[in-house]
């Protein structure tokens, strides 16, 4: 199939739970819309011919690179040419690939460009700016591409996979978590047209899907975050295979640690960890998501079999002898049992719905789970395990394409 995807490169604002509003550059899927972070998810099938056209409205040139894709061409109006790095007259690198100029640049390139590639292999990939990337990617010009295997069929369990039938990458549910970090001084300097030295980079906020905790746990398309449409909450039922796709959208590396269980790493950078029949996947409880890297992993939580008729072997103290809601809220149900609800103290807001369990997923560089020093915040979300049969249709990630 041919997939035609149109993106606009523009600016906007994102919101941080501490009340701060951060100026961003980013992608959006319609003319006149504000930019979003991360960019729109692109979901295509293996073998598709993908045409991605961008229209630049920024005050400087921009471009898109597609790490992991081969044979990318670029077309600025005179026909597709192999995309490649651009150098100035002095031989200095000015862009990692062909670019769209800023509108109205006298004698410059057009402000639009179309990139084309064939999605040869399934996996999780990144797309991001290749022009002044030390600034533009930090400003928010990054997003993720999911390529489905050619035999993908979400209606057939053996074919609802990340990498194809018989690759041991079946999943019941899937989630995408793109991580990054924000130095508000950089963003303010760009907004005000001031000078900024990237050597001074000092992040104060850390994000999953463009949001800082606790906003990470809110739903997709939450109204008060119009430019951060993707939640980062992971939800599943016991024993389900949960495909978690991590992507490193920032310029730093982040060690992500899920509570509740290990993950099995099944692919790196869109490459399946197999060598013929030899399986090279492995389990970890902390994955270092490197800048520009992607990790596909399968998580399953099965529990220990406790329920009110098979009670836990310890005695729960009286509620007034427990700390609950230290952060001003809690995800706890008030009961040690899955699917049960108990009491929480008066005045504490519980976001627990049906007695589901919550397991934190977070950067273990713990300053990164603050918002400018205030815990809880930053690069943190929850894996919520719902009682069997309560979560409903799994759904899969949808996007442009």
């Amino acid at each position: 199939m041919i997939r035609n995807i149109n993106l606009w490169v523009t600016d906007g604002y994102i919101s941080i739970p501490d009340g701060n509003s951060i100026y961003i550059w980013g992608y959006t899927d319609a003319a006149g819309k504000r930019a979003q972070v991360p960019g729109p998810r692109i979901v295509v099938n293996q073998g598709d011919v993908v045409n991605i056209s961008i229209t630049n409205t920024l005050p400087e040139a921009t471009s898109v690179v597609f790490p992991g894709q081969s044979g990318v061409t670029a077309d600025t109006g005179s026909g597709p040419q192999p995309a490649g790095p651009k150098y100035d007259g002095g031989g200095n690198l000015v862009s990692l690939t062909d670019f769209a100029d800023y509108p109205g640049n006298p004698g410059g390139n057009p402000p639009t460009i179309t990139y084309t590639f064939t999605a040869h292999r399934p996996g999780t990939f990144i797309y991001e700016s290749g022009t002044n990337p030390h600034k533009q990617v930090q400003m928010g010009l990054y997003g993720a591409i999911i390529v489905r295997p050619s035999d993908y069929d979400p209606a057939v369990p053996a074919k609802k996979t990340a990498y194809g039938e018989n690759t041991h990458t079946e999943f019941d549910r899937e989630y995408l978590v793109v991580v990054s970090e924000i130095d508000p001084v950089l963003h303010q300097a760009v907004e005000q047209g001031k000078d900024y030295k990237i050597r001074d980079f000092l992040p104060r906020y850390w994000t999953m899907n463009g949001r800082s905790a606790p906003d990470t746990m809110n739903s997709d398309n939450a109204g008060y975050m119009p430019n951060q449409p993707y939640g980062a909450m992971i939800m599943a039922e016991p024993d389900e295979k949960v495909l978690i796709r991590y992507a490193g959208g920032g310029i730093e590396n982040h060690p992500l640690h899920p509570h509740g269980n290990h993950t099995r790493i099944v692919a790196l950078d869109g490459s399946l960890l197999k060598n013929g029949t030899e399986d090279l996947s492995y389990k970890k409880f902390t994955v270092l998501v490197g800048a520009g890297q992607t990790y596909d992993q399968v998580f399953t939580w099965s529990g220990l079999g406790y329920n009110p008729s098979n009670p836990i072997p310890t005695v729960m103290p009286n509620l007034r002898n427990l700390g609950v809601g230290d952060a001003g809220w809690t995800m706890w149900s008030g009961s040690p049992y899955l699917g049960e609800k108990g009491d929480v103290p008066v005045g504490v807001t519980s976001f627990n719905q049906v007695g589901e369990y919550h397991f934190m997923v977070h950067s273990h560089e713990e300053m990164q789970i603050t918002n400018w020093g205030e815990f809880p915040g930053g690069m943190m979300t929850m894996i919520a395990i719902f009682p069997t049969g309560t979560l409903g249709d799994a759904g899969t990630i949808e996007g442009l394409g």
């Binding site: 590396n253 099995r264 492995y282 273990h364 300053m367």
Partner: protein
Amino acid sequence: MATINKRFGATDGYIRVPGGSEIYIFGWVDLTGIPENEIFSYRGKAQLLGPLLEAKVGDEVYLTLTNLGMPVRPDLDDSHTIHWHGFPNQIPVWDGVPEASISVLVGRDFVYYYKPLAPGTYIYHCHFEPVEHIQMGMVGPLLVRPADYDPGNPAYKTAYGHGTGTEFDREYFIFLTELDTRAHQQIEAVQEYDWTDYKPDYWLNNGRSYPDTVEPSGALPYQPYSSLIRANSGDKVLLRFVNLGYQQHSIEILGVPLHVIGQDAQRPLGLNGENLSYRKNALYFAAGQTMDAIFTAPSAGTYPLFNRDYHKNVNAGTAPGGMVSEIQILAGSLPPQPGPGQ
């Protein structure tokens, strides 16, 4: 299968860094077996690292956390928790995340129950405002033995079980953390600290900086674990690495190639049991990772262990210091090891 009853107190205290400075910490103290009327005398006696917690797969561990409060900061009524980092299939009530279950108030007890499911090197730490409580020192080593572990039978004295190729003669923890002394001073002085300014000036191996690292266990009152590694030539030595700092570290031992047989408390095994263990000269760790490596002790001599991020082998900017330690290989005069790190 044994039932293990432990009781840890959470409180504050002081540790020493080379040069004589005292650094304010939060941390754990072992209250196991202490009569109730003497518990209060353990306030202010936190140690770094916390007491070693050791269990076998299938054991039942009842771990009582007692929040003793902070004598140096009586204004601070912080709760605490114990999070068994890496424990599979945990349930929230024992997982120690205050936002997802409960925390333990000052003056209160709470019993955590663990039945370890899988062998390996784990960590325990407080998860209450973790950026502060972990950096302040509420961390400890945790190891789970395989169910068939038998120290009297070489084929069953293993990290991951009989037949897994993880036999060892001696074992040592190398538990990496950092110290940003500005943060510790601010907290001692009841000041706010912006954690996004985090910039450590000491790098610790088992809670100590070199040359304290090579002092024997017991030499520093509140830093009980030596980082000195000793073995007889030919011994198989198991190193249990933990990174519970907020930085990435690269540890190297010149002249001692390392066989990595465990990562994050799992043997590196493919789905069909493919053995994915590997050999390294320098081991790279992210925060919150553990790794198990075995080496065969070379000929007698002293082999330095250090951080390949050389700028971290310093104490407040002065070398040598930081995570540096020594592997001392003897010709055969060392008696059998009574326990980890001893």
